[in-house]
């Protein structure tokens, strides 16, 4: 019997697979396709202090092997999420990770505190990397000192383990990872989307109303693997890896590079059953490559120094 379980700060995962933030809402829609208890965890859509309406449309466009999105963190606000969405997810036998965002450190702090009080959430994913909002988000994610400050504030606001979601839109990802580790992060989550742009020939305008959007899907997988590998060499906290995962082989690739668990985003749109299908395929895939458990694959890539 292969063992799929993974033990991470605050998270006892029965398997390493979880839907990525923003690609699964709060689980309701996908719960009509399968039992969410099958999942290792669920990462909820970003929550902000108050309701956000997001960006104008079009908000998404397809690209070669992926898509661009500029949703703009549309969400009903943390209070509404705690009242209406968290109890729904809590009825399933899975871990709940709350993705939090804000324009100011005060907003981040308030959202973290609110989730801490519910006692139904198992961990926080601190989103300092949303490329699609005018203020907050990305600037916390591209300046190591600011990233450290917001990490510290969120750590102090709650008892929940904090996984800081890093932006790939930086020249030195290792510097960012080290800064948040030093500030007390319990783990990392990477990568968020890469900023991109696509033109519409007839109108000569960008296809996304926000002009630029975040690139996700298989197109970004090699970037994610490279960044996880680089960060793994320099920090000790665990990494939840993501970016273009579509099958169990991809999961193994992330684990070899140094991720301890794997989130699946865009692939849910192509196939709503993608997460349970990957979970079902994992045992045979592990065996095929000579492993008995997920934990023994983590960081076992043989990479010349």
């Amino acid at each position: 019997m292969t063992n799929l379980a993974v033990h991470l700060p605050g998270l006892e995962l029965k398997n390493p697979i979880m839907p990525a933030s923003g690609c699964f809402g709060f689980g309701r829609e996908y719960s009509t396709f399968y039992d969410l208890s099958k999942l290792g965890a669920v990462i909820m859509k970003a929550a902000t202090g108050t309701e956000r309406l997001g960006n104008p449309t079009p908000r998404v466009v397809e690209t070669a092997s992926g898509m661009l999105n500029a949703i703009g963190l549309q969400n009903p606000g943390v209070k509404n999420i705690i009242e209406n969405e968290v109890p729904f997810l809590a009825a399933y036998d899975t871990s709940i990770i709350a993705n939090i965002a804000g324009s100011t450190t005060t907003e981040y702090e308030a959202v973290a505190r609110a989730f801490n009080e519910t006692e139904l959430v198992h961990a926080i994913e601190l989103n300092i990397s949303c490329p699609n909002v005018k203020e907050g988000g990305i600037q916390f994610g591209t300046d190591p000192a600011m990233a450290a400050t917001v990490t510290e504030i969120v750590k102090n606001a709650s008892n929940l383990p904090v996984y800081v979601k890093l932006s790939p839109n930086v020249t030195n990802i290792v510097e960012m990872a080290k800064a948040v580790e030093a500030a007390g992060a319990d783990g990392l989550s990477m990568i968020n989307t890469l900023t991109g742009m696509q033109m519409h020939l007839q109108s000569r305008k960008p296809l996304i109303a926000n002009k630029t959007g975040g690139l996700s899907g298989p197109a970004i997988k090699p970037v994610a693997i490279r960044m996880i590998y680089e960060v793994r060499q320099h920090v000790n906290i665990p990494i939840i890896g993501m970016g273009g995962v579509t099958n169990a082989e991809d999961v193994l690739e992330f684990l070899l590079a140094g991720a301890s668990a794997v989130a699946v985003g865009t692939a849910n749109f192509s196939n709503p059953y993608i997460c349970p299908e990957i979970i079902d395929a994992l045992p045979a895939t592990l065996e095929r490559y000579g492993f008995d458990s997920v934990e023994e694959v983590i960081g076992k890539g043989i990479i010349p120094v």
Binding site: Y30, T57, P58, V60, S65, G66, M67, N69, I71, T266
Partner: protein, 250 residues
Amino acid sequence: MIQKEKMIIKSVTNIALDTIEMVLENTFISKTAIPGQFLHASIEGHTLRRPISIADIDREKETVTILFKILGKGTEKLATYQAGMSFNVLGPSGNGFQIEDKQGTYLLIGGGIGVPPLYYLGKKLAEKQCQVISILGFQTKTNVFYEEKFRALGETFIVTNDGSYGETGFVTDIIERAGDFDSYFSCGPVPMLKAITKKLPTKPGLISLEERMGCGVGACMACVIPTNDGKSYQKICSDGPVFHAQEVSL
């Protein structure tokens, strides 16, 4: 309820310029779908699915008909699929046209590739012994399709923008000539829907909208349209694609 379903292609017919009619066999969707709902079609080699309206259903033969226009890479690829092949869809998706159980006179106003969902709706209305009047607008003669099928349901006006076939102008130019009606149903480009809702401010109407989609099931917030009070959004994939004409801000 939406399911992931395999659609087996029974026939592929070119019915107008760059416009394909595909008859697809599937038990679940043919038994459960209502007019105005759509299929979210997976096309090989594409990350995102393509939303295509249900244009007709034959419950006995268990077939669903779709009509689509070749516009970009996805529909171009779909048009190469042959009878006997299959592809998967999520469906039936969205909230369709709710039709009241009362007889009356209904006006269908379709523009271009917005015409397809109105056909199955018209058929259902005609089955209920309702009067159906249709105004179908196309850019030019080579784009016209399903004229005879709509005529079989009731009085039908065809309008082309360039006057190469039927009446000349826009669908809104014809509305007065259609006579009185109880309510209207419309699908087509946003400028057309805007003109119609402006012209018919007091008539009850249902309109079907389009937006680029991610998930197609209501989870990702890609496909939103502002509500009329400007304070919130509706999701076209799951709250729509059909809305009350006055409920959303076009």
